[in-house]
């Protein structure tokens, strides 16, 4: 059994927003998902009924095992993640703090957008191509029999066009838009406040008297 073994590196990702009690809660949740093993595999996420409803469920689970999100040097997918990795992924969703300065806020925003970017860029080549974007749209719209594949495609194409116009400006007739790079992605989201949309806030749970 034993305590959650987390190195100092992980808690610094969270500080000062997360208390040790919240990490304990997350650890308990981790143990529940992993069924008391030390690591979680993709199959463990199947036991969450609330997640079944989510159309991009596959992408979310995938994001947990994506090595780019786990801040590892290599590329590709991990087979299993331990608690420290779990916390690393959770850190992308921490809420902003009032006392953050400009530089911190900017870094924060970039991190969250990078996470989202990785979700779209499934072949890990650093660009979101038209096909990858179409995949995402299809997943979001999957399951509706009234929606044909053509409609999903046209939505994706329209959105890519808009992205291209923001990023590259007017394109010549024989110019091909390769795909959205991360810099373009950042440009698209300029001015739009995403920090408050992409966070999970913990309730103040430190009123429970545990035996410490």
């Amino acid at each position: 059994q034993g305590q959650a073994q987390t190195g100092p590196g992980v808690t610094s990702l969270f500080s000062p927003a997360v208390t040790s009690e919240q990490i304990e809660h997350l650890h308990r949740r981790f143990k529940q998902l992993s069924q008391d093993q030390l690591t979680i595999r993709k199959e463990n996420f199947d036991s969450i009924p609330d997640l079944e409803f989510n159309p991009i469920r596959g992408k979310i689970v995938h994001a947990f095992f994506d090595k780019r999100n786990l801040r590892q040097e290599s590329d590709g997918l991990a087979d299993e993640i331990n608690f420290e990795d779990f916390l690393t992924i959770m850190s992308y969703f921490r809420p902003i703090e009032m006392n953050m300065d400009e530089e911190q806020l900017d870094r924060f925003r970039k991190e969250k957008l990078k996470f989202l970017f990785h979700m779209y860029d499934s072949d890990h080549d650093g660009k979101i191509t038209l096909q990858e974007y179409r995949n995402v749209v299809e997943e979001l719209l999957s399951g509706n029999p009234h929606l044909e594949k053509e409609s999903a495609r046209s939505i994706a194409d329209g959105a890519m066009m808009e992205a291209a116009s923001i990023c590259v400006g007017q394109m010549g007739p024989d110019q091909v838009y390769e795909g959205i790079t991360f810099e373009d992605f950042l440009k698209m989201w300029q001015g739009i406040d995403i920090e408050t949309k992409m966070h999970v806030r913990f309730l103040n749970v430190d009123t429970i008297a545990h035996c410490y």
């Binding site: 998902l33 609330d50 991009i56 979700m119 509706n144 009234h146 913990f202 309730l203 545990h210 035996c211």
Partner: protein, 436 residues
Amino acid sequence: MEVLWAAGQVGALWLALVLGLIVLPSALGISLGISEVYMWVLVKTLEWATIRLEKGVKKPQPQMLQTPTAIGIIERDETPMEKEIARLHRADFEFSHIFYFCRKGFEAIVEDEVTQRFSSEELLSWNLLTRTNVNFHYISLRLTVVWVIGVIVRYCFLLPLRFTLAAIGITSMILGTTVVGQLPNGSVKNYLSEVVHLTCSRVLVRALSGTIRYHNKENRPQKGGICVANHTSPIDAIILTNDGCYAMVGQVHGGLMGVIQRATVKACPHVWFERSEMKDRHLVTKRLREHVADKSKLPILIFPEGTCINNTSVMMFKKGSFEIGGTIYPVAIKYDPQFGDAFWNSSKYNIVSYLLRIMTSWAIVCNVWYLPPMVRKEDEDAVQFANRVRSAIARQGGLTELPWDGGLKRAKVKDTFKEEQQKNYSKMLVRNGSIG
């Protein structure tokens, strides 16, 4: 030789005390007040322990404990999907849709409503049982001493006592009902069978050190009705039969349970189904309907959730029980987890270790509310009726209502549910004019 004789004397004395102080009063339906004294001592001890804990943790103010565990550990944003997405973007489909689902997905991973119902409720303060203490750190010598005394009391005194009582209760149930079953059918037989059932129930409740408070006894289920309650553990049935006689419904088991079932059915018309019969829903409904139609028969007791839930919420009621017809008498049962956790996590513990845990807890304290009877309205179907009854029970017991099926303890979500959500989302897109 001397030692044996002395041991025999002690044993006889012990048995005499048990019979005189506990079994006899149960037969007569009176209470000597021993359990009240015990509960009072227990409450005082636990209060003292809580105060010591709070001092030990050195909180700045002794704030009264809130109930964060009831709502969960994260703040969930309950804005409906349409509002959230409309807020994020203009009418076109953009990357922003993914935000909403991403966050919902994360919320579900950190904490989901369903899985937490299948593990024991967390306590607000420690109740001196190791099993409810997640991290045991040393606080003070006095607390540890009290804890050790608690262990000795529970395992060396309470456990043998409870075991004796349970043995007496079960044996007398089997013998009593077999004897009564020999009598010819008539009012004498019914009366005696009620006496036997009630006495044995009371003995068994004392075997668990149960303190039960019944509310609104005027709404108690009448003959020819169906009694419906939320399910937390196998002892729910004993809790209810402590106050009245019911006809139980269930599957035939083997072993000791089977012996009890076979004996009791001779005295009282319980409805036991063979495993093969359970599969045929029409057969089950037909038999129950016949039972209910006979107004002289005792009310049936059914737990429509189908499985044990951890007593913080009420899950989906299976509509089968509500198709039988007749009057439904809802009953809400709420256990107080401070004194002992009654929830049976059948995937974690088998029945024997569960009973052992129950018998080494402090006590089983619960409240039972009898709700006014309900009938199905003209324009309601079975599912709506089931939900109406469920809301009434949840509201009375202070439990949350979840639309999920208790079967999710072991199975996965049905595909039909998933498709619903996806359809909603795409319909919304079409409405926003993103397509064509």
